[in-house]
Symmetry: C2
Amino acid sequence: MMGHSISDGFGNKELDAASLPSSQGQRENPHSIYKVGFPPRRNFFREFKDTLKETLFADDPLHPYKDQTRSRKLILGLQFIFPILEWGRDYNFSKLKGDIIAGLTIASLCIPQDIGYAKLANMDPQYGLYSSFVPPLVYAVMGSSRDMAIGPVAVVSLLLGTLLQNEFDPVTEKEEYIRLAFTATFFCGITQAALGFFRLGFLIEFLSHAAIVGFMGGAAITIALQQLKGFLGIKNFTKNSDIISVMKSVWGSASHGWNWQTILIGSTFLAFLLCAKYIGKKKRRLFWVPAIAPLISVVLSTFFVYITHAEKHGVQIVKHIEKGINTSSVNKIYLTGSYATKGFRIGLVAGMVALTEAIAIGRTFAAAKDYQLDGNKEMVALGTMNVIGSMTSCYVATGSFSRSAVNSMTGCQTAVSNMVMSAVVLLTLELITPLFKYTPNAILASIIISAVVGLIDYEAAFLIWKVDRLDFVACMGAFLGVIFVSVEIGLLIAVSISLAKILLQVTRPRTALLGNLPRTSIYRNIEQYPEATKVPGVLIVRVDSAIYFTNSNYVKERILRWLRDEEEQLEAKQLPRIDFLIVDMSPVTDIDTSGVHAFEDLHKSLQKRSVQLVLANPGPIVIDKLHLAKFTELIGHDMIFLTVGAAVMTCVPKAREDV
Amino acid sequence: MMGHSISDGFGNKELDAASLPSSQGQRENPHSIYKVGFPPRRNFFREFKDTLKETLFADDPLHPYKDQTRSRKLILGLQFIFPILEWGRDYNFSKLKGDIIAGLTIASLCIPQDIGYAKLANMDPQYGLYSSFVPPLVYAVMGSSRDMAIGPVAVVSLLLGTLLQNEFDPVTEKEEYIRLAFTATFFCGITQAALGFFRLGFLIEFLSHAAIVGFMGGAAITIALQQLKGFLGIKNFTKNSDIISVMKSVWGSASHGWNWQTILIGSTFLAFLLCAKYIGKKKRRLFWVPAIAPLISVVLSTFFVYITHAEKHGVQIVKHIEKGINTSSVNKIYLTGSYATKGFRIGLVAGMVALTEAIAIGRTFAAAKDYQLDGNKEMVALGTMNVIGSMTSCYVATGSFSRSAVNSMTGCQTAVSNMVMSAVVLLTLELITPLFKYTPNAILASIIISAVVGLIDYEAAFLIWKVDRLDFVACMGAFLGVIFVSVEIGLLIAVSISLAKILLQVTRPRTALLGNLPRTSIYRNIEQYPEATKVPGVLIVRVDSAIYFTNSNYVKERILRWLRDEEEQLEAKQLPRIDFLIVDMSPVTDIDTSGVHAFEDLHKSLQKRSVQLVLANPGPIVIDKLHLAKFTELIGHDMIFLTVGAAVMTCVPKAREDV
């Protein structure tokens, strides 16, 4: 059937070009057999419902419930909220084996990291471990990613630490600081869950990829620089995180503040960790080497310090780490007053960054293993996890890039690996925390440096440079903002640049001049197709965007500018003037009242220049609105064509007659 | 070089067409003779310059300077800043005649309005007159609109009054209140001039037409309600502006607070004014009737009160109005401290609203009389005018809708009419202000009511309802916000809704399924053209927007949803499955790195379903970026076609072979 219609198309095409000058002649117009279609008019509620659906339920979450019995719907609903009910039914021993191995590996990775990250957040080391105990359990029940490893992460810890120390001093006002941290975690969870529940998850997409790459890279470098304190054994270190303050601190204490024993231990193990990382990257079979290297470093160095009593020679050690599992922190959360407001603000920022990271991880692994991930559902899971966490002495947890990668590579099958990790952390808290007493801080610094190096995605930055130079500016803006000012300012720059890009996109849509590809009835951008030729007496402009209040005025003036420039050129060459201005509306998907006004103004201006406005291929919504606003009557129904080709064919002979 | 590969492409393509089934054979395929073109690669600075130019210099302001001598450029430059130098040279007596008549008319209109509007801003009556003296003079020299009448306007006065009284009480803290008003005016001017100078004028276009209609209508009703105080002679009137508080005030004082003499005078003259307005609307020849009616009302009612001593029977009168022209207020502006910050914030808001109104007026009359208006230049003029105004005891002035219309109708030719008006105001201030002593407040209320009635643009609201229901929601949101809460909240709603619309537009672009129009090679939206038929084995989706980080994920998932829905339908009908997914990229004007990632993910997902991804008609920037990101290699160069038709022709036979 289809084949037929295509071949008919050709016949027509050839016939129809008949009305055209010789080279294109003797053929009939295939375009003229169809008129621009009006879509069936939808009523207000239908329209509203459709928009709402596309906005909030774009992933069509109710699809599986279609044509199901009520009890089945209930089960599906429960499975939707608690995915463990779904995958738990097919759980078997071989999966458990994979999960246990993966869980043990990420546990060995997370324990030293947690202690270090807690320091980034200016909190005692046990809080890092607490946050690797409760949140992973909650996520295992509610989350739908199979690969994500939950716990504290470097960037969020740093951000939280920076924001919290603006309010309270973490040393002198320790109690208030901790309380505000839980408050921020609580509101962070509330925000995340609310975003997911109200299906507003798409809001996190307003942070552009380029800005995230820059922000993450900058944060990684900032975090690495912060580790110089532990790495060099400096006692008086700046509180600022910008590179200049840190460098001043480092060089200022070079003569008296550095401790060579610390540097020796730190650099030996950093070299070991980076080697392990390199081996793991080169030989994929040896992926377990970098995964267990941190634990080996901790064990070896702790043992070394213990037997040599290096702590007496100025090597700083962890010293004290609270034994026992999380205590309740329900009463510590500020729910009213100005601290609640501050906590809310900090939680909002930290929560959004945490979400951005978690969703990016979730999507990456879901795409790699080809399973579906519902962003909004994930947000509810992550939010619930943080709310429960805030009540059990945890600070903001989210998905960790490095640990999730290890989790995936070591063969995790389900979120059970998170449960295994959680169990190991529980045992650590209950039994072996005292052993960490002699762990040198330099080792934690080395582990963090080797972990955050992976966040500097220079390959992505290079690709951005190659593909889109303006995106690269955004990327570098965020990067330099984090490094030279602070992590908040970097984030602000990233968000601002992303928003500015969106606004630019809607205020300044592209327009293009079209020309005819010789021997066809195809009209294309003359910049892209140099062989495309302009049609004498006709100017064809394509507007490449919906026409809304944000750009209606620009579009009108830009079209008039095309016309002016063209007329000046023609005049200089003494060629016939423009009689018809064809606006190709194919890409114009929508128009609002401002847009219609702009077209009315355009029509008026053109009339004064005795140029006829012609529209080609308006879409369903556009033709409907132009009709309702009586614009189609204004320019005449016969000035609206199905294709540019049809419009040209009608205009050209007329233009000739005029001459 | 590129050309080579294109012509090579042809040979191959025709071979392809040759392998098509008989019905399609024998004729040359018009689509296949061209390959998708690569635009010439632009370097970074060129690209950046072009973007900058389109964003900030879209109106090509340097165009007239091209190919001019240096001295001519200087003159053009001066004329650009002071348009009076341009139009002043052709000024003649007949123009002067028109300007004098128009100027006298708008002066008669503005004097009573100014006194009333100053009350809306909680200021003494003379400040209204001051603001009609200095700013019009500045505008006459720098502005480029010929029709705009400058002075205080109702909405801005109300907004300023509301915002200022949040900071200081206008009665008990009079001095600080006035100082803050000048501070706000100063920063309002600075903001306006800066926006224009940095060519950021397009920012005001982020307020949608629909939101403005709603906001203006709501503000008009609020202003009219505020006039009930003067109109009914109520002494204890609420400070809130919402309809509920006002109505409570009005009914609460019905038994004792209303003054029948006031009501009698007010309603008589309101009836007179509305009649005059009606006459002016019906017979365009009698346009001068409504223009002079306010002055007549003031003269008659003042005379009436004077001879009857009605002020002793509770009719409230203006009482005192300072004689003499503006004094300097340079020292009254707060330039440092928290009041400066507050003044800046208030000035920013009032300035943006004032700009929106002025630019809308300027554009309307420029379009009607077909002259060009440079929005950015206007902003510099309006800003300078307010800065100078703030130093000479004026508050925020802008273009007034009602007076500009009268100005235009009474035959103004240039901004000289503003100078004439200014001169009349000067004489008024110097000579006759004492005569206003007996003017009853009820008359001022009537004049304001009859003036703001014109701001309620129910026809526009009805058109918005007809054309775009969602726009109407925005309109009503702003309207109800102003009426039921406050003018600031209404403005906030208007801005939020406008921004939400923009964000919605960029996150949820439309997509459409295409079908073939029988007997042509045209592919169109099957919703708009019910006669369009789907091609078996092929799904054709068109994406109607640039693909950026904001929508890349949605676009990918939406395309997969189209595929899933289609496959379910086909399965139900036991029809052959989909082998090719053609994405029509015509409307996709740009893509960023996130967009490329999304396409890579899409390609991966489709491969797993053994569906081949095919692209049709990518634009110049898109093909360039896909090429740089090596995506073209990934899906194969031969899977990218110039038109959907060409893509279908290549896919269909292949699909058949597969069966």
